[in-house]
């Protein structure tokens, strides 16, 4: 059985790393690939579920292959293409490629090769085998809303907190958190973070029992503060200047042109000089909160005791359209079609015998024998198995 969660040390020793790509570079490729899936998906009006599923496929894929073997943007397209089908929101391959082309520099799009659609089709089979046809992926969003419903407190503040946590979940897709922790744990951690930042104190919650010290004890056992902080920092690190400055060490995104094709070398300068690469990379990845301008977000003062090693973006730059960014206006969210068949919460039907003793009632007289009827019609004529 595949197990899609990895230790930190496994995440350092990846196929890309063994292929000569250092961890920082790999993390940047992952971030850029994930961001690209988010942007492409949003532009195509794909829901957060589909987008997140695509990103999880992407992260899992690169636990088995190197970024040098498979350039990230075409893999990203392929993951989104498959996620669209799995989540019952299919998009045509050519449409995804069209949007991808509009979002990428010519240089980056060159990695799609001569026939992008065919490339995606071949890649899809590799993706399917790599992820073991393990299509069903759960995301923190649903848990976030489920947990929020239980919390008591000021409605407006709660709403803001959920909105912020939602944004953190969006951004967490750019990290490898989905390769480390179950969605429940990520949801708890990022709500914890949003609670701190938006100063929403959870005083009480529905379903509280004496043994519950904090609200999440009700949902996930044994979450330590260290773990929560570790997860929060992984997300907050996205916003730190070091990880954002990625301009001058751009990843290999251009494949070698096929031998038979003669392209002037000037068409394919190193990706590092691409001005677009620099601007996209330095853009803050977070959109703090839509419609939340009046909330002043301050760094947390309690709980996280480590020195603050992140900067929170103070200038909100609307980065992706509301389709994806904005959490649903109310709790619960607009119900998306249950793409995921519910888990098998239903008990098996009780075994047939012994349910109740056989009833020994004489058969009811539904039909009185009809004396005048001839013999029942035989089965229709037709060829049978020849007798042995």
């Amino acid at each position: 059985m595949p197990y899609w969660y990895y230790d930190k040390k496994d995440l350092l020793n990846t196929p890309s790393f063994r292929d000569g790509i250092n961890n920082d570079a790999e993390n940047r490729y992952r971030k850029e690939g994930a961001r690209f899936i988010i942007d492409t998906g949003s532009k195509m009006d794909l829901g957060y579920n589909t987008v997140a599923t695509g990103v999880v496929y992407f992260h899992r894929f690169y636990m088995f292959h190197s970024f040098r073997t498979f350039p990230r943007y075409i893999t990203a397209c392929c993951c989104l293409f498959l996620a669209g089908k799995v989540e019952e929101t299919p998009k045509k391959c050519k449409d995804i490629i069209k949007v991808a082309k509009s979002l990428l520099t010519e240089l980056k799009f060159a990695s799609f090769g001569e026939n992008p659609k065919e490339e995606v089709m071949t890649l899809e089979r590799i993706l399917l085998q790599t992820i073991k046809f393990d299509f069903q992926v759960e995301h923190p969003y649903g848990y976030l809303l489920k947990y929020a419903k239980c919390l008591k407190g000021d409605k407006t503040k709660l709403q803001k907190m959920v909105q912020m946590a939602w944004t953190f979940v969006n951004d967490s897709l750019c990290t490898t958190l989905c390769l480390q922790w179950e969605p429940e744990v990520i949801a708890v951690a990022l709500m914890f973070l949003a609670g701190k930042l938006s100063k929403f104190e959870v005083a009480d919650w529905n379903g509280r029992q004496p043994k519950h010290k904090v609200w999440w004890d009700m949902f996930v056992e044994d979450i330590t503060t260290e773990l929560l902080e570790d997860i929060c920092h992984q997300v907050l690190d996205l916003y730190s200047p070091q990880t954002q400055a990625s301009g001058n060490d751009s990843p290999p995104s251009v494949p070698q042109p096929p031998k038979n094709e003669k392209k002037p070398p000037s068409v394919t300068p190193p990706a590092s000089v691409s001005p677009v690469a620099v601007t996209t990379a330095t853009k803050p990845v977070v959109t703090p909160i839509k419609n939340g301008g009046e909330v002043k977000i301050e760094p947390p003062k309690v709980g996280i005791t480590e020195p603050i090693r992140y900067t929170y973006p103070f200038t909100p730059i609307p980065h992706y359209p509301p389709v994806y960014t904005a959490p649903p206006p109310t709790i619960p969210p607009p119900p998306r079609l249950p793409l995921v068949p519910p888990p098998m919460v239903y008990p098996d039907p009780p075994p047939a015998p012994n349910r109740f003793p056989p009833v020994n009632v004489p058969p009811p007289n539904y039909f009185t024998p009809l004396p005048n009827r001839g013999p029942p019609p035989g089965p229709p004529p037709r060829p049978y198995y020849p007798p042995p």
Partner: protein, 398 residues
């Protein structure tokens, strides 16, 4: 909570280190040599015979080459003419099969691939690998030498309804109930198979009806609501099929073999009575209610016409409850399982002994045609068949 055993690292072919990125040739070599840890090669099985044609590909009987020599059924995922890559229908079937694990649902063992080589343009073919079942119900019913006692019929129906209860509880509709999709192992365990048309369903919220396609279910087993264009249907569509299959246990051949959708509706009306708002409130709102010709004044004759075959009054009564025109009145799987039919003598009894007398596999696909050959694969996906000129059909209603 964190990983105890991470997936084993794949062995990687040695790559050139001169270029930053692989060239085409290197990539092809990489794909060819990559040992996908989670997807075995189909060559671990040896094909024995073709045993069927599924919704999206051929089905083979095969044997494991390893020491187990275990038999499996391999269903090929047909991708040749797919413009959109791996078919969404196959994705659905896989997702659903991964979810459903039950004694009375066919078990998906794994998905295998052929090796990617230059010959297949580096595109593998995929096979769904299932536990092998020796028979399908259509094959068994077409063999006169296979005789089911009343207790055995009860056992078949009980298992079938158990399977339906389980999948419906998991919010899955089968949407292709028919005797050929009901498999039976040599030990007499029944398995629902072919989830190629299955889908998850939701209970429609007020004011927001579901819009499912009604071009599902093989015509002869298609319930009246689908024939009348309902797009907000649910588990009762499978229960109708269960009723048709149950009747077939005695008649040994599908009870309503309409050549067209119109004809099928007429056959249904002749057996179950006219579709009127009286017996079926709301039928008048279905899309095709005014577009299809619906026989008027037909009386319901389910029990009357099936009694000569079924004889057992409990059996007749359950059939009557399953073949209800109004899906809201049709029994669900749970109610049907509680019907006296299953709780009166003779009680359901094991099929193992009876099947032990038959050593040959019986599949509809392999059986001689039990109806005109051009009708055998009459399928929902096919355009509505035109009434044949030679009028070789018999519109049978039992």
């Amino acid at each position: 909570m964190q990983s105890v055993s991470a997936p084993r690292e794949p062995t990687q072919p040695v790559l050139s280190t001169t270029s930053t990125i692989l060239n085409m040739r290197e990539k092809e070599k990489y794909i060819e040599e990559f040992d996908f840890p989670f997807c075995d090669e189909s060559s671990k099985y040896e094909k024995v015979a073709k045993i069927g044609q599924g919704t999206f590909g051929e089905v083979f009987k095969a044997r494991a080459r390893n020491s187990s020599k275990k038999f499996v059924a391999m269903k090929k995922v047909l991708m040749d003419n797919e413009k959109e890559g791996f078919p969404i229908t196959a994705l659905r079937e896989i997702k659903i099969l991964q979810l459903l694990k039950h004694e009375n649902v066919v078990n998906l063992i794994e998905i295998c691939r052929t090796k990617a080589t230059v010959h297949n343009k580096y595109r593998s073919t995929f096979y769904l690998v299932f536990d092998f079942c020796e028979h399908d119900l259509a094959g068994l019913l077409s063999n006169v030498n296979v005789k089911f006692s009343l207790g055995e019929i009860k056992k078949v129906m009980q298992q079938l309804l158990n399977g339906l209860y389980y999948i419906h509880s998991n919010k899955i509709l089968h949407r292709d109930m028919k005797a050929a999709n009901v498999l039976i192992t040599k030990n007499g365990t029944l398995k629902l198979a072919d989830f190629g048309l299955a889908r998850a369903f939701s209970v429609a919220k007020s004011g927001q009806a579901n819009k499912y396609t009604n071009r599902v279910v093989t015509l002869w087993y298609r319930p009246p609501e689908l024939l009348l264009g309902d797009r907000n249907y649910g588990p009762p569509v499978d229960m109708w099929g269960a009723g048709c299959i149950m009747a077939e246990m005695w008649t040994r051949s599908p009870i309503m073999q309409g050549p067209t959708e119109q004809q099928q509706l007429i056959l249904i009306s002749q057996l179950c009575g006219s579709c009127t708002p009286d017996v079926w409130p709301g039928v008048e709102n279905l899309d095709l209610y005014n577009k299809m010709e619906l026989p008027k004044g037909q009386k319901r004759k389910v029990k009357e016409r099936l009694k000569p075959y079924v004889k057992d009054p409990y059996g007749c009564d359950l059939l009557d409850k399953l073949l209800q025109l109004d899906p809201a009145k049709r029994y669900d799987a749970d109610t049907a399982l509680n019907h006296d039919f299953f709780w009166t003598d003779p009680m359901p009894c094991d099929l193992g002994n009876m099947l032990a007398q038959h050593t040959q596999s019986m599949f509809e696909y392999l059986a001689p045609p039990r109806r005109p050959a051009h009708l055998r694969h009459h399928h929902h996906a096919a355009p509505p068949a035109k009434p044949p000129l030679d009028s070789g059909y018999q519109d049978r209603v039992f």
